[in-house]
Symmetry: C2
Subunit: 420 residues, 2 copies
């Protein structure tokens, strides 16, 4: 391990930590002005950003990158505008810092409450999309945190251009520029060294594939927000309304197949399997979805291919859906517990007791009734934006917005109150 690498990492971490103390104290108006300023700067610098992005795209093409990975890496004027809009949206959100979430009085006379505070320094590790630099930067700054951004090597030029613009705005606004730092060398050794800086870095948010997240979680001495995968379920209950069952199954699966909150498994109550079930399967098939079914599914719809055991835990991210017929709500819940990923599940039912039971007993991060799984994100839930979706229960569970980037301290007011 080279000395220069560990010196670089120490410098990054210590600067971030010092900046965190300062950004935590900046009031909402100044943070919001800086965010709006950054949005304007981004828009004005569109040409410059596209030029920097051009270098990344050229290098990617030389390396033979095509299709979706290349598409993800690409900046366009629309995407720059979307970044700017995102920053303005975050500026418009309420500031969580300083919010008192409750206050009560104790028999001792002490008035006790809890107040939101920033977490400190957040390390975000992400892959090719350069817009993450602005999106994540905006959320961290608004919540009073300093952020270390470690983007993918393939988008380094784009990320650098975006980060420099944001840092320039911070400086101009009298905010500490080091509250937003891009890790200049995106090699793995640097990440490993960063994951050891538990005295300066408070939280790690890896955004990317399951293998990246597992590696970071194993390596890290710092708490990690984990989002392994989304194996989301639609359960069509015995008492589902037929049209609603069809619409929700289709919307959950097909509205956008490549995202973590799209459905990967359909569970159908046996009492309605030959009716609603068969109809929904035909519709899905008509929409081009490959169905992988249990035996009873294949009796209903012979065109379905047999599901293998591993299909039940598979995140297809494609026009593929596993389908199983179950005999009860209990069996549906058991299936979700055994094979699910704690991400998002929905029940379609007109029976209020069943709906309530599903909500009470299924402990995934988002549990819905009569709605498409596609709603499980920070924007649709009203958090404004999200830094990611946590599928583990520590610190935050589900779509994570500004609130998830804070902690709460206890505050207490006495009048010379003494312990007896």
């Amino acid at each position: 391990m080279s000395v220069s690498h560990s010196e670089l990492v120490a410098d990054l971490a210590l600067r971030a930590s010092a900046a965190a103390d300062r950004i935590a104290e900046i009031d909402s108006d100044r943070k919001n002005a800086a965010l709006r300023g950054a949005a304007e700067r981004l828009e004005r610098a569109t040409d410059e950003l596209l030029e920097a992005n051009g270098f990344d795209l050229e290098a990617a093409r030389v390396r033979g990158l095509v299709g979706r990975p290349l598409e993800r890496l690409t900046l366009t004027p629309e995407r720059v505008r979307a970044m700017a809009l995102g920053l303005r949206d975050v500026a418009a959100l309420p500031d969580p810092v300083g919010e008192v979430t409750g206050m009560w009085t104790r028999p001792s006379g002490l008035q006790v409450g809890r107040m939101r505070i920033p977490l400190g320094v957040i390390l975000v590790i992400y892959e090719s999309r350069p817009n993450v630099t602005a999106d994540v930067g905006g959320l961290c700054l608004k919540s009073g945190n300093a952020v270390l951004l470690r983007g993918g090597s393939e988008s380094l030029n784009s990320n650098r251009a975006i980060a420099e613009l944001l840092r320039g705005t911070l400086e101009e606004s009298g905010l500490p520029a080091d509250a937003l730092q891009l890790v200049p060398l995106p090699d793995r050794e640097i990440v490993d060294l960063l994951l050891e800086r538990e005295d300066e870095i408070d939280l790690v948010v890896p955004r990317g594939g399951e293998s990246l997240i597992r590696r970071v979680a194993r390596q890290s001495r710092i708490p990690v927000i984990k989002h392994y995968k989304g194996v989301c379920h639609v359960y069509i209950d015995e008492f589902a309304e037929p049209g609603m069952a069809r619409d929700i199954a289709l919307n959950s699966k097909c509205q956008r197949v490549s995202v973590c909150n799209s459905a990967e498994t359909l569970l159908i109550h046996s009492a309605v399997a030959s009716g609603i079930g068969a109809e929904v399967l035909a519709e899905l098939d008509g929409a081009g979805v490959e169905l992988r079914g249990c035996e009873r599914t294949r009796e209903l719809f012979p065109k379905a291919v047999p599901a293998s055991d591993s299909d039940w835990a598979e995140e297809f991210l494609d026009k593929t859906l596993a389908v199983r017929v179950v005999d009860s709500l209990d069996e549906a819940i058991e299936h979700i517990r055994e094979h699910g990923s704690d991400h998002t599940e929905t029940i379609v039912t007109q029976d209020i007791t069943r709906g309530r039971e599903f909500v009470r007993r299924v402990n995934s991060s988002s549990v819905l009734v009569n709605a498409s799984t596609r709603f499980a994100d920070g924007f649709e839930f009203g958090l404004g934006a999200e830094i990611g979706i946590s599928t583990s229960k520590i610190h935050w569970f589900g779509p994570m917005g500004l609130e998830g980037l804070t902690s709460q301290k206890f505050i207490a007011f006495g009048e010379g109150t003494l312990k007896e």
Copy 2:
């Protein structure tokens, strides 16, 4: 690493995980009845518990244990009653599981909220006090979690007797006995193996000295609640009421010196140093406190010994207090940031603006105004009881009761709501 050890650990973890699914679904009445039943059983079995404790005490004496460590290990009829009372108190607390902490409606028509759920399996690692077995067991069960209790080897007989009684009550009440398991062999190898079971165990709470906690935090693949130490500050502001300053300084330092929320450093504003300051120092000295002061402190009170650099970050847990004179609130806050442990700080002031500034800017887990630092605990803050005090900001910060043993899932209700 012996095969038998890893088999034992796998068995413990898998049983706990299966029990967690079941205990999470038990309603409040049944959990409360089991807790009250356990309290009664403990009281009825006092003789039996004291006998088991006798074996531990004898072994401890043979090993030469004396003084406070031996005292901590000792069960008495009063301590058994206190355990029972603790369980009854926890039974009387509101159940956090199922609580909906907020609900709002989105433009899509979706009604979105958040609902508290148990974390799953909690591993608690503690040292000699056998009462922790009942206290922690009660909190985990009430919050719907399964718990793995790894007590110290010196209290194994006592812990086993208490755990067996609690498991007996669970069984009798139709609750899963494996929701509470004592780790049968308290050697370090077992702990290391448990800290690798990230698929079954959700949270680790080490209770004990800083070195234990640091070792667990470094070793663990599972999130750890950290409570390193309590270097708590009392700051006597320029506008402090003299009598209140004296009372709070004395109470914070002397009411009980061996606990983490007692004061270890006193900061005095220079404008009142020769007045209130000198008077408070004389009172502390009269109460038998050894004062270690900065130069200006020693000018005020020559009997104070010179403070060394390391004294500012020292958790004395004894009748020793570091004292520094500062020229401003800013300087006091800077001192706390640099040397503090994020545990508990209090300001004594009659100036409301200064009080508010201290509360806003000091981001320790408990920040008080005109009250003794000794109030920073779960009972005094109204949480009913506490499993520990977290001094790191992830998941929970400060005294951690039932709420800290839960997470929140998103719940959402639609009427066939589809994503456009």
